[in-house]
């Protein structure tokens, strides 16, 4: 079973990764980040089950808490950017550069 769970975790992570790199819409990018985090969670839980202890599960809870906090801050930023620029494209917000 472990192999299948890890394979699913890897597939989910890759989808999230490609999404972050290719999509312009900030909301979608954000969702892809969530996908990557949850792929990681899946891997943690799988390994916890494999080893028969709770370390991985504890780590998964930490990731969830951090992800929740991240969503709060991240969505607020995206909201503000959208209000000022009338766009949620990550490529439009490229003023901070050389």
């Amino acid at each position: 079973m472990t192999t299948e769970f890890l394979a699913l975790s890897a597939i989910l992570f890759t989808i999230g990764c490609v999404g972050v790199l290719t999509r312009r819409n900030a909301i979608v990018v954000f969702m892809c980040v969530e996908l990557m985090l949850n792929a990681c969670n899946l891997a943690f839980v799988t390994f916890a089950r494999q080893h028969g202890n709770l370390d991985g599960q504890v780590a998964a809870f930490f990731v969830m808490v951090v992800a929740a906090a991240e969503v709060v801050v991240g969505l607020a930023i995206i909201m503000t950017i959208f209000r000022t620029r009338r766009s949620a494209s990550v490529d439009d917000a490229s003023l901070l550069k050389y």
């Binding site: 990764c17 972050v20 790199l21 290719t22 990550v90 490229s94 550069k97 050389y98």
Partner: protein, 653 residues
């Protein structure tokens, strides 16, 4: 204590004649020795710290008073020393521990012996007279208080120089008089020529001071002490090479301070200073410090024939060098400066002759201090009368206009040429005689020739200034100086006449015996009387030549241009400056120029090259920061992949 002594053969010869200094502790009036230095030092501090304006009404009185106070103390100390037994005439006073660093200690201590005693009297006595004279001479100068402050500073430094009981103390005084000399030569600093002359004197003296500093260091490295007492007791442990090096280093120092060839070039320019300065510093006292150093270091020179010979050569060359320059100068002060150089050459010559010569070097130093100070002050009085004109071609027939100056100057003149009976006659005669007996024909003949040339140029000065026709500028009305100036002249004139009394019953040689050692009797090929007659005849020839070439002829008011090569060379100070310039100054200039180029191109090029390389690199690298968040995400991913890959490679390998 000494490492060099082990490798070099110890010295044996001459060890019996050099006295080892065994001082006794100062008591009675001699325990006031420190006050001799402290008085003028206090005067200088008060005047210079309180400033020109605040001290104006009384600075000259304070300055003169402190020096005269020192003179009284010096006299008392002198008589106290005379009252002691000959073996106890060396007195020390320990003041405080000056430097203490590891194995090196130097005490601030005083050494008062017959040699210092004579110097003390000369410095404070002649110095006091010159202070009195300066009251009148500088009367109309706005900065007279400062002048007296500097003069006091000089006197204090000079007293430190001759009273110190170790080379480090001598060095302190040595630098102090150098500083005072610099300040006073450039006293009228609004004149560019004076400022330049002061700088020149300072720089040339620096060369000599290197000798003094290195000599002191070598003495410490060899003997473990810089005190005269310690060194004179340990001389026999040092090697010949060390002694020669010490002798030559101190000779270099003496050349700088005493304006001896090859460091002579500054003295003629130093005449830019006020005339009392020329009289006190550049004739009577400071420039004789070199002679003092050689005589004081007799416990070194007695063990090194090479250095002694070098001293004789320097003395002989300089006495002719200065005399030749003196012959061609039209500036009265420069003619006298050439003469000073020449007379100090006589002293150096005598000091290089060893135990027979030291006493006569000091004897001539004293008489020269009298008559040269007298003549410089006389020249100042003449300048005072002639509206500060120094060109003798515009003098003439002044004997009626300034009778006191004329008479006192004449006493100095007769003394310097060695007119029988006058002080210079006795001292110069002894030097020439000793040169013939101790050094052989060449030095003796040089000294004899020098006496003839001296007679020529001094007669020329005398004739051009006081005799002949009036060649005055329009509107000049010569008048005699006030008595505050003429009284010191009279005292110095009397001393110029009577200075020979020091030789009465060989007093001066006996007096200096505790310092320089017992002099035996030297054998002369001919009797001293014959030598005296030859000298007097040479002097007469010199006077006669001057009478026929200068006295009889009309003196043109501008210097004739079509003159012999020798005259042209003498007018240009025998090309001393040209020599310095082409041998030292120009190559130095080029060397420094090359260094600047190297610094600009090489060092700066490397440093700023590195800087601009980094600037260029960072200019490229910053392009990576595009502002696109997705490209950052890509680089994060690549970085993570890289780390992961590296971990895998390490773990699998």
């Amino acid at each position: 204590m000494t490492t060099t002594a082990a490798f070099l053969p110890a010295l044996a010869e001459g060890s019996g004649t050099v006295p080892v200094i065994h001082p006794t502790e100062a008591d009675g009036v001699l325990s006031l020795l420190w006050l001799v230095i402290a008085l003028p030092a206090l005067g200088a501090a008060v005047i210079l710290l309180a400033g020109n304006a605040r001290t104006k009404p009384w600075a000259h009185l304070l300055g003169t008073g402190t020096v005269l106070g020192s003179f009284v103390l010096s006299l008392l100390a002198f008589f106290a020393l005379m009252g002691r037994d000959e073996a106890e005439r060396t007195v020390t006073q320990h003041l405080w521990t000056w430097v203490e660093a590891g194995s090196f200690t130097a005490d601030a201590g005083l050494l008062y012996d017959p040699l210092s005693a004579l110097f003390l009297l000369l410095i404070t006595g002649v110095g006091g007279l010159i202070h009195v004279y300066s009251i009148g001479y500088m009367e109309h100068d706005e900065r007279r208080p400062r002048f007296f402050g500097y003069l006091n500073l000089f006197v204090a430094s000079m007293l430190v120089l001759v009273l110190a009981d170790n080379y480090l103390g001598v060095f302190l005084g040595w630098e102090g008089v150098g500083l005072a000399s610099y300040l006073l030569i450039g006293f009228w600093q609004h004149k560019p020529s004076a400022a330049v002359a002061a700088k020149k004197a300072f720089v040339v003296n620096r060369v000599g001071d290197i000798g003094m500093a290195l000599g002191t260091m070598l003495a410490f490295a060899t003997f473990g002490t810089t005190a005269f007492v310690g060194i004179s007791a340990a001389t026999e442990q040092a090697g010949q090479g060390t002694m020669t090096a010490l002798g030559l280093l101190f000779l270099l120092a003496a050349c700088g301070k005493s304006a001896q060839v090859p460091l002579q070039s500054w003295l003629l320019d130093a005449m830019e200073g006020p005339t009392p300065v020329s009289a006190l510093i550049h004739a009577a006292t400071m420039v004789t410090a070199g002679v003092y150093l050689v005589v004081r270091s007799n416990f070194i020179y007695e063990y090194t024939e090479v250095a002694q010979t070098a001293v004789v050569i320097v003395g002989a060359v300089t006495l002719l060098w200065g005399a030749v320059i003196g012959c061609a100068k039209d500036d009265i002060k420069k003619a006298l400066a050439g003469s000073t150089m020449s007379q100090i050459g006589y002293m150096m010559l005598a000091a290089g002759l060893g135990v027979y010569g030291y006493a006569f070097a000091i004897f001539h130093l004293l008489t020269h201090g009298f008559f040269k100070a007298n003549m410089f002050l006389g020249a100042g009085s003449v300048m005072h009368a002639m509206d500060d004109d120094v060109d003798m071609r515009r003098y003439g027939a002044l004997q009626k206009a300034v009778p006191v100056t004329f008479l006192t100057f004449a006493m100095g003149y007769l003394a310097i040429i060695g007119f029988p009976g006058f002080s210079g006659f006795w001292s110069k005669d002894k030097i020439i005689e000793t040169a013939f007996a101790e050094s052989g024909l060449i030095a003796g003949l040089a000294a004899l020739l020098g006496a003839g040339v001296t007679a020529f140029y001094m007669t020329r000065v005398m004739l051009m200034t006081f005799f002949g026709k009036k060649r005055w500028e329009k509107g000049v009305h010569p008048h005699e100086s006030p008595s505050v100036m003429t009284v010191p002249l009279m005292v110095l004139a009397a001393l110029s006449v009577l200075g020979g009394l020091f030789l009465l019953g060989d007093w001066i040689t006996d007096w200096l015996t505790p310092v320089v050692g017992e002099t035996g009797h030297h054998e002369l090929a001919v009797s001293p009387l014959v030598i005296t007659l030859v000298i007097t005849a040479t002097v007469a020839v010199g006077v006669a030549i001057a009478w026929f070439t200068v006295g009889k002829a009309d003196i043109p008011r501008t210097a004739p241009a079509n003159v012999s090569f020798v005259t042209r060379a003498a007018r240009a100070d025998l090309y001393g400056d040209a020599l310095n310039e082409s041998l030292l100054m120009r190559p130095g200039d080029r060397f420094v120029g090359d260094l600047v180029t190297f610094d600009d191109r090489g060092v700066d090029g490397f440093v700023s090259g590195t800087g601009s390389a980094f600037a260029g690199m960072s200019g490229r690298f910053r392009r990576i920061q595009t502002g696109y968040v997705r490209s950052y995400a890509l680089s994060v991913l690549l970085g993570a992949a890289l780390v992961l890959g590296a971990l895998l490679v390490v773990n699998l390998a």
